[in-house]
């Protein structure tokens, strides 16, 4: 049973009198007997203590679990012996060394006073030491100053800190800058990024109204200081650097294209009390704004749709992930948006949509021509905005002048290729007869592009009046001198000379040819399907000069290599 201050004051003993007096000063002092008492003292240093939990990450902690002092006053106290004081915390978070130091300091108080009543002094001493963080934080040999605690304490300490902060906040009264009324802490919200306080009612109705009307840029702190800061920031970032200008030293390379002014993260809006439908709309609007800011975003060409392509959204999400924004953006129409937004990591800095885009790095390849709409799943070509026509189709942008490279490619294709009558892929012949088999398995004539019946493809060349009569082997060496040089690995597809093979008799002699092929693949904006016909199907009667051809080849059925010209497989003729 606990005693009261009055109980002890009426007790005829100097020790009880002392404890009774102190209990009147500190009502939280628990009197466990006439001569013993305990008190729990909150440990809330004036400055937050940087704490690491066995990692390199620091958490500023303002509130630690209380320190309990237990006093036992022996009968010889205060004249002849000091009080017995024990210190403890639950859990035991104070490093043993620091606790020992504190204990020594308190124990010496009695002697310093020349023997006398020291309970009050001891409590006061601990309180003051707590305000200064017990001197935990001492610069170490590296000049760093922090308190390291075992990792298993992390949850407990962080939780205690957060709860105490919340309690303190809720006990306070704040004037809301929107309704101008003083409000209890329980009805208020402290904005995480700037710590300004507004009442929940005002914040939720203001943000709801702004999101409903589509003014997402207003979903920010309304405090005049923040407004001023945002204005300065906007003005500072307004002039975009002209293309090609190297970023100024010290300033990170920030693309202004899709950088939006920061607004509140969706999970904070959820805490303010916005409903799921509004949060979903907010995330969608935010994503839309970010995509609209990026000139590289590709939109669905269907007039009634015009949603961004899946690729564009993917790139935006990747850019944001790279910038560690707390913003989660998902595919259009995804029901997971809200849940994911709520689950997104809590970061004090509000959203800043991707600071980097694909355009920051000049080496990044162009986005693929094939784009798929995120909403209607229409597959279309990025360049000509028509329905997807395959990689090999020649197409032009409807709203931009073709580049010299595009024009050269077109001219080359017109000159040297024949379109497949089925899939319209331009096909280049590296060598051999004019019976071609496209990647799409269509048999056709390289000269006139007409279908050839797979069963008897050579009838076309043996029939008078077809225009191709007796022309099966015309252009046997491929389409022009150029093709022969390509085949021999001397030039690439656009005519650039390639380095000669190093040593013809070396075991890895074919290597340069492989490189040549790779280079061709890299250089061409489209892939040219070349269909060599290395062998004639056995069931076709072979006569005359056909019989002179170097026989059939087992590899002869590998029509439609990815690039076509498979240099290694081309039999010498």
């Amino acid at each position: 049973m606990l005693l009261t201050s009055d109980d002890l004051l009426s007790f005829p003993d100097e020790r009880s009198q002392e404890l009774g007096t102190i209990a009147a000063i500190y009502p939280e002092l628990l009197l466990t007997s006439p001569f013993s008492a305990t008190i729990s003292l909150p440990v809330s240093p004036i400055l937050p203590v940087p704490v690491s939990f066995d990692t390199a990450e620091f958490f500023p902690i303002s509130h630690f679990p209380a320190l309990t002092l237990q006093f036992d006053l022996p009968s010889t106290y205060p004249e002849h012996s000091p009080p017995e004081i024990s210190l403890s915390t639950s859990p035991a978070w104070i490093p043993a060394e620091a606790l020992k130091r504190l204990k020594t300091e308190i124990d010496s108080l009695w002697e310093d006073f020349g023997g006398g009543q020291v309970v009050f002094t001891a409590i006061d001493h601990v309180q003051q030491a707590a305000e200064h963080g017990f001197g935990f934080v001492r610069p170490d040999s590296n000049g760093g100053a922090w308190l390291n605690l075992p990792a298993e304490l992390r949850l407990h300490i962080a939780d205690f800190n957060a709860c105490t902060k919340k309690q303190q906040f809720e006990q306070g009264t704040y004037e809301c800058g929107i309704c101008l009324e003083p409000k209890k802490g329980t009805q208020c919200h402290r904005l995480r990024s700037c710590t300004h306080v507004f009442c929940l009612l005002c914040l939720s109705s203001y943000y709801s109204s702004m999101i409903t009307e589509g003014h997402i840029s207003s979903v920010v702190c309304s405090d005049p200081a923040c407004v001023k800061k945002a204005t300065l920031l906007n003005n500072a970032t307004a002039p975009p650097t002209p293309p090609g200008t190297p970023p100024a030293e010290g300033i990170p390379s920030v693309s202004h294209k899709i950088m939006l002014p920061p607004t509140l993260p969706p999970d904070e809006l959820k805490d303010i009390g916005l409903n799921a439908a509004l949060l979903k709309r907010y995330v969608e609007l935010k994503q839309k704004a970010a995509l609209e800011k990026d000139p590289a975003t590709v939109y669905c060409p269907r007039q009634w749709c015009q949603a961004p392509s899946r690729d564009s959204i993917k790139i935006l999400n990747a850019a944001m992930a790279e910038n560690h924004t707390s913003y989660y953006l998902s595919d259009y129409g995804s029901e997971a948006v809200v849940a994911a937004a709520a689950a997104a990591a809590v970061t004090p800095t509000p959203t800043r949509s991707g600071n980097r885009t694909r355009n920051d790095t000049p080496d990044t390849p162009e986005p693929p021509k094939l784009q798929i709409c995120s909403r209607c799943t229409f597959a279309f070509c990025r360049v000509c905005a028509q329905g997807w026509h395959g990689d090999f189709q020649i197409c032009r942008s409807s709203n931009a002048e073709p580049t010299p490279a595009e024009l050269a490619s077109e001219a080359y294709l017109r000159e040297h290729t024949t379109p497949c009558p089925q899939c319209t892929s331009p096909v280049l012949k590296s060598h051999g007869c004019n019976h071609m088999i496209c990647k799409c398995q269509t048999h056709f004539c390289f000269l006139c592009s007409s279908y050839l019946p797979p069963g008897e493809p050579f009838k076309h060349y043996n029939t008078r009046g077809t225009g191709c009569y007796m022309r099966l082997w015309e252009g046997e060496g491929g389409d022009g001198e150029h093709v022969r040089m390509i085949r021999e690995g001397r030039v690439d597809l656009i005519g650039e000379e390639l380095p000669p093979p190093e040593a013809p008799d070396a075991p890895d002699a074919p290597a340069p040819r492989r490189n040549a092929r790779r280079e061709v693949e890299n250089l061409l904006p489209f892939v040219v399907g070349v269909v060599p016909v290395p062998g004639i199907p056995r069931r076709v009667p072979v006569r005359g000069r056909f019989a002179d051809w170097g026989g059939t080849d087992d590899e002869g059925d590998t029509e439609g290599e990815e690039l076509g010209v498979d240099f290694d497989d081309v039999p010498d003729t």
Partner: protein
């Protein structure tokens, strides 16, 4: 609505308690959503001696939406439209720039500040703004003439 009325009443009380020289306010009716304002031309400005009547209209969802401020007295000024609306071009009164923490008194003070220093780069009356920049003396002459004619 109730929220708006409460805040407006509170702001009215604040202004009444701390009146600002040169600005007087008078709510038109009991619901407080329309105020008559009188600005006196700042002493060192070309509008000195004039008294300008303005109408302040507060939207039903104030302070989420900005108030509307219009001059009822004609004024020769690059930032006030020279028509029967007399609407004033003030950045913070645009709905995308408005912040609910902004108070009526701050708006009125900014309006009075514009009388002291017109902002020709953000003008509604471009011809007046042009004159302000190129022919200041003629501008001042016209402005003073209008004050005499309309604002006395």
């Amino acid at each position: 609505m109730a929220q708006a009325a409460k805040r407006i009443t509170r702001e009215y009380g604040e202004i009444e308690a701390n009146p600002v020289a040169g600005i007087s306010i008078r709510p038109i009716d009991e619901d407080m959503f329309k105020w008559n304002i009188e600005l006196t031309g700042p002493k060192d400005s070309i509008y000195a001696g004039g008294t300008f009547k303005l109408l302040l209209t507060l939207p039903a969802n104030y302070p989420f939406k900005p108030p509307i401020l219009s001059f009822q007295t004609k004024i020769y000024h690059p930032n006030v439209s020279n028509d029967d609306k007399g609407s004033m071009c003030l950045g913070i009164l645009r709905s995308d720039q408005w912040k609910p923490s902004c108070k009526i008194m701050a708006v009125l003070e900014m309006a009075r500040g514009l009388l002291l220093e017109p902002n020709p780069d953000d003008a509604v009356e471009t011809t007046i703004a042009e004159q302000f920049k190129t022919d200041k003396s003629q501008f001042e002459k016209n402005a003073k003439q209008w004050v005499k004619q309309y604002a006395k």
